[in-house]
């Protein structure tokens, strides 16, 4: 037996080999596998998170850009897209109401926000700032030039860098690679928000799909950092994906890494992928798969807590991983959640919020969230539980 002793192992990008093996891709859910909110959502006309986790749809500027259906598609690059594995899902945008003539700043983007704590490796704001490389697979019936925007939200000193790619052949999966310089002037300011344990919402990556003339201003050079100005984001972008009903755009295999080489997509296990997404969104739905189980007649339990004030109860959320920031509560309907303490009290809630006393700072909300349920009168100080009583019921906490 022999022993290999080395001082350091470097990846093709010159980074720590160990770090690149473990955490090369700064994008969450780049293979579009996790979709806690659902696999399809139609009638989209405004900004929000609709299907695959971590990917936000932005529709803005006056009248918006038509109407869209977003789905987690099984249309993916086939065969040898990667030697490491294959893609099972993609994010699909499909135009269902067209807007052929965009005005002013009307725009459509797909974006992901990356926490500052994940960007320390870039060394931005120093003379050693590192390049970054974005790679992804994309397909659309609309050929042309598309913009991608790196946007650094930096406490009033916003910075941006524009990259571009071209879809050359309609309805064909193509792999695109964009490398940009490091920003030697400004860091991602990762410690700017002491109230936010995750380090703030700092780097955003925008995939531009449509843009009105109000965002075509200025002179923008590819791959160069400059002062942030969203009115220039689409300079050089030529496609209005919303100009015709039925237009489609698919993307998967999104990877953002430090260095100037695009390495093969870093697959995560399903649970690792899910845990990363759970930092920003955690959802419990009633799943009637086991409806025949005797215990299931009581619904799906969320957690336990205590009644107080005669009409309210606090129930601890079954945390998967800490949230980035104080989360928002969303739910199918407040009455889909029952509150009970014993056989004598079992009523639907009338309102749901995050429990919030003066001692419950943002970090505590993120690390130990309690839900506040309002219901009809119940005995103070009795132990209570919350459960989903409706087959269509669900509740979620989100901190995107």
């Amino acid at each position: 037996m022999s022993t290999l002793r080395v001082d350091a192992l470097k990846s093709a990008n010159g980074n720590s080999f160990i770090l690149d093996v473990a955490q090369r891709n700064l994008i969450d859910n780049g293979d579009m596998t996790i979709a806690q909110r659902g696999t399809s959502n139609s009638g989209i006309t405004s900004a929000g998170y609709y299907t695959v986790d971590r990917w936000e749809t932005s529709i803005g500027g006056g009248g918006g850009v038509g109407t869209w259906t977003q789905s987690q598609s099984t249309d993916t690059p086939e065969g040898t897209a990667n030697t490491n594995g294959r893609f099972m899902h993609s994010l699909k945008m499909e135009c269902t109401t067209a807007d052929a003539t965009l005005s002013n700043t009307e725009s459509l983007w797909i974006k992901q926000t990356i926490e500052a704590a994940s960007t320390d490796r870039y060394l931005y704001g120093t003379t050693s700032a590192k390049k970054s490389t974005l790679s992804f697979w994309v397909k659309s019936n609309k050929t042309g030039t598309y913009n991608v925007v790196w946007y650094n939200l930096n406490s009033g000193r916003n910075r941006q860098c524009i990259g571009r790619y071209t879809i050359d052949v309609a309805d064909t999966w193509e792999k695109k690679i964009i490398t940009i310089d490091g920003d030697t002037e400004f860091d991602y300011n990762p410690r700017s928000d002491p109230g936010n344990p995750g380090g703030g919402r700092i780097l955003r990556l925008y995939f531009v799909l449509a843009s009105g003339p109000g965002r075509l201003n200025g002179t923008v050079s590819e791959g160069e950092w400059q002062g942030g100005d969203s009115l220039t984001w689409s300079h050089g972008h030529t496609v209005n994906l919303g100009d015709t009903i039925g237009n489609t755009w698919y993307i998967t295999g999104v990877q953002l890494e430090v260095g100037e080489n695009a390495t093969e997509f870093q697959y995560h296990s399903l649970i690792d992928n899910f845990m990363q997404c759970s930092r920003y969104y955690q959802r419990i739905s009633r799943d009637d798969t086991y409806a025949s189980s005797p215990i299931y007649t009581q619904g799906v339990y969320l957690g336990w807590g205590q009644f107080f004030s005669g009409t309210q109860a606090i129930i601890q959320w079954p945390l998967v991983v800490p949230f980035k920031f104080t989360p928002t509560v969303t739910y199918s309907d407040a009455t889909h959640i029952n509150i009970s303490n014993d056989a004598n009290f079992n009523e639907p809630s009338t309102a749901i919020a995050l429990y919030n006393d003066s001692l419950h700072a943002a970090e505590r909300h993120a690390r130990a969230p309690y839900l506040l349920f309002t219901t009809v009168s119940a005995t103070n100080a009795s132990i209570g539980r919350a459960y989903i009583n409706n087959s269509a019921g669900w509740i979620a906490l989100g901190s995107e």
Binding site: S46, G48, G195, S309, Y355, D357, S358, S377, S399
Partner: protein
């Protein structure tokens, strides 16, 4: 101001916890946010809270002050 999200039926949610000396404190804003039942925390930096307050400041929406719940014994 461009409206990024459609927000309706906004109202404050309050809580009372006498053991902690909390009386009728606002803890969130309940609304329908892009068609989804939502309660945003009172927390600057929270995406939904920030959007609600932007629309309030722009005069697009108002928030009802519902004090009928949470303080009854």
């Amino acid at each position: 101001m461009a409206i990024n999200n459609v927000i309706t039926n906004a109202r404050y949610i309050r809580m009372t916890d006498e053991a902690l000396g909390i009386i009728d404190q606002i803890v969130g804003i309940e609304c329908v946010f892009d068609g989804v039942n939502t309660t945003a925390p009172i927390a600057v930096g929270n995406r939904e809270y920030d959007e609600i307050m932007q629309q309030v400041e722009a005069g697009h929406i108002t928030i009802a002050d519902d004090d009928s719940e949470g303080d009854e014994e």
